[in-house]
Amino acid sequence: MARTRDEIANLVQSCLEKIQKGEATIDSVLSDYPEIEDILRSQLETALWLNGRRQIYDPRPGFIPASRKRLMNVIENEAAGVAPVHTSWNPLANLWRKRFALQFAVALLLILSLLMGSNQAALAAKNTIPGDRFFPFKITHENAQVLLSISAENDTALHTEFTERRLAEIQGILLVGRYAMVPKAVTAYEKQVTSAITSLKKVASVNSARAGVLASQLHQVLEDGDLDLTDLSPAVPVETRKELSRVHEISSSSIHEIAMLRLVVAFVETSTPLPSPTQGLSLVMPETQAPASEVGATVNPTPSPTYTPILPTSTELTATMTATPRTTATQVVRSTNTATPVIASFPSPTSSTVLLTPTSPILPTGTLAPSNTPQSTATPLPSQTPKPTDIDVPPTQTATWTATPVGTPAPTATSPPATATQPPSPSSTPLPAGCYISGQIAEPDGVVVALQLVNSGDIPVTFTEITIHWPQPQMPPENQEFESLWRSVNLLWYEPTDKSPSTISDFMGEPALRVIQPGNQADLTFRFKRSVIGTSGYQITVEFDNGCSVTATR
């Protein structure tokens, strides 16, 4: 009697259970089903072979209790508002080394407590800005925290947190109009970020994996802070703008330095067995490169760090880095035609189609969009200033996917056409996001369909509504159900439905989860109840707060 696939699957499972409980052997269960002996044997043998090796996958003894303790420490520290502390250090050695610093710090804290009266006062000081009465206490308290810290990792975490504070303080000063205090605040920021990088290098010399994580955190802080200040720039006096430019330069050069450090760290992690800390691993970093000078307002030569690692012959790793200016080979110019969508070039080739439909006017500007085609290593020439045009500029991507502007309304009299005399805007004012957003659907896998959104514009965008169409089976025993939407590990929506298309606008979680920062991507995962049917028939439309929408199909 022929058995169906489902029957065999059930038989395999029941036989496995019997064998694992000790109620039967492979031979005894096979004798019960001679007609499918071969299939059953291969399945059971494979399952038992795999199951018999599970002990290989056990964590080492002591890991779970120790890591549970570490996790609890981190959670408690976070609840108390302290930067995450990782405990992969040698506390005794560090304690001994910092004995005097600790004594001093404890004494200082006692004095501080007396001076400030209570912990509430310390908390109150935490949010002060230069010019506030309690601001000096905040700085003293921070210094004490650093003195109390007994590992380079913790030092770096603290310096990163304080760097974030310095940036927030500059913002606070601007918002209350204490412009005279900006230069001093910028200098404080510069010192703080220098301390953070110095500390980070110490971590890199002993724990490259941890250094990579810390570098990433610091990078994010600098990037976010710089972005926030750039937004404020147009609203402040001209003299203060110069100081903000200084902040930008400090952030850019620091980000560059961190990027190079991360390259070295990644190289050490992936290519060489790490020498022990006592053997010493020296990271030789060049002086920070000056920020790349801007050419006009359009070409932003990005320093392209190339590094020449010299493999250690003994125990020392030396990495020499040089920064080569890189020009962008692809230039996308926004038309002054307010009805014309402009599509930037995007990195990944894909077969999916992206449709950009601007639903609000795109502001005229002559600024280039960032490009991902790093070809030229020559010094950027000022003559590369783009010329605005009233002709739609086709996407200059070289990837194989197609980008088709649709729904483009024809220019009307109210839509001023661009003229050749329209100069490109050379200011550093951030670009409006326009429709510099792309989306592509990856090949459906298992029960998920993934959509990658890339914001190639210059300001953050927030998605406000998502509509998804998915295919249903021709002869449904049950319709396919769309179950949940995730951004990375964050659940954005969960309301299983079998009605295709479905529109999502009531997202879960913080609004920040729906923001895509400039130059960043958002990976959205659409999870279905059952394995996705086929590999086509999906269409996802994402609406953004700036009036743009992106439709990706597969």
């Binding site: 964590p59 779970i64 890591s67 959670i75 609840a79």
Partner: protein
């Protein structure tokens, strides 16, 4: 002090959402091993697997406020984050896959035989799993390495128990083909 050992997962989760770190610690004790096995079956370095396991639970803790049960089981939530963490692990650091052989071959004389054998077996299993479809790989890891029941596996994978049995049947056949 409450004895968390006697509390079920749902109550632990509720307490953890209310900020009870110890309740979350108990959840960690219950599921860290299976998460570690799941992760280590997908990456080569056991130390990285340890770091990622901690990282997964930290992310779960931080995401608890966004988690609404509504029939979406905790296990599914946990392993979803584990899967994403594995992807991030490879993507963020652009890691070069370090197979076990890369490390064990460096100084074989210093490594006891049992660890060496385990390393080779891990390498062999990785080789087989790498050649399977994602859902096949996942069902085999969950069922036979993490030792989840078909029902638990179904919860994690968002499928019915019957569908998991069929998937397991297909995955075993595919794995057998690779082994041959």
């Amino acid at each position: 002090m409450r004895n968390w050992h006697e509390v079920d997962d749902v109550q632990l989760l509720k307490s953890a959402k209310d900020g009870e770190a110890d309740a979350f610690g108990e959840l960690y004790a219950r599921y860290a091993r299976v998460v570690y096995r799941f992760i280590f079956a997908r990456i080569d370095d056991p130390l990285d697997a340890e770091d990622l396991t901690e990282d997964v639970f930290l992310k779960v803790w931080r995401s608890l406020s966004n988690y609404r049960e509504q029939g979406f089981p905790f296990l599914a939530f946990l392993f979803r984050i584990a899967r994403n963490s594995i992807s991030d692990h490879y993507r963020s650091a652009q890691r070069i896959s370090r197979r076990v052989s890369d490390t064990v071959n460096n100084d074989q004389t210093a490594i006891p035989d049992d660890i060496l054998t385990a390393g080779f077996e891990h390498q062999e299993i990785c080789h087989i799993l790498d050649q399977l479809r994602e859902d096949y790989r996942m069902v085999l890891i969950l069922r036979f390495l993490s030792e989840f029941s078909p029902e638990e596996t179904a919860q994690i994978m968002g499928r019915s128990s019957g569908a998991v049995r069929v998937l397991q049947h297909r995955a075993l056949a595919a794995a057998r083909n690779v082994m041959q």
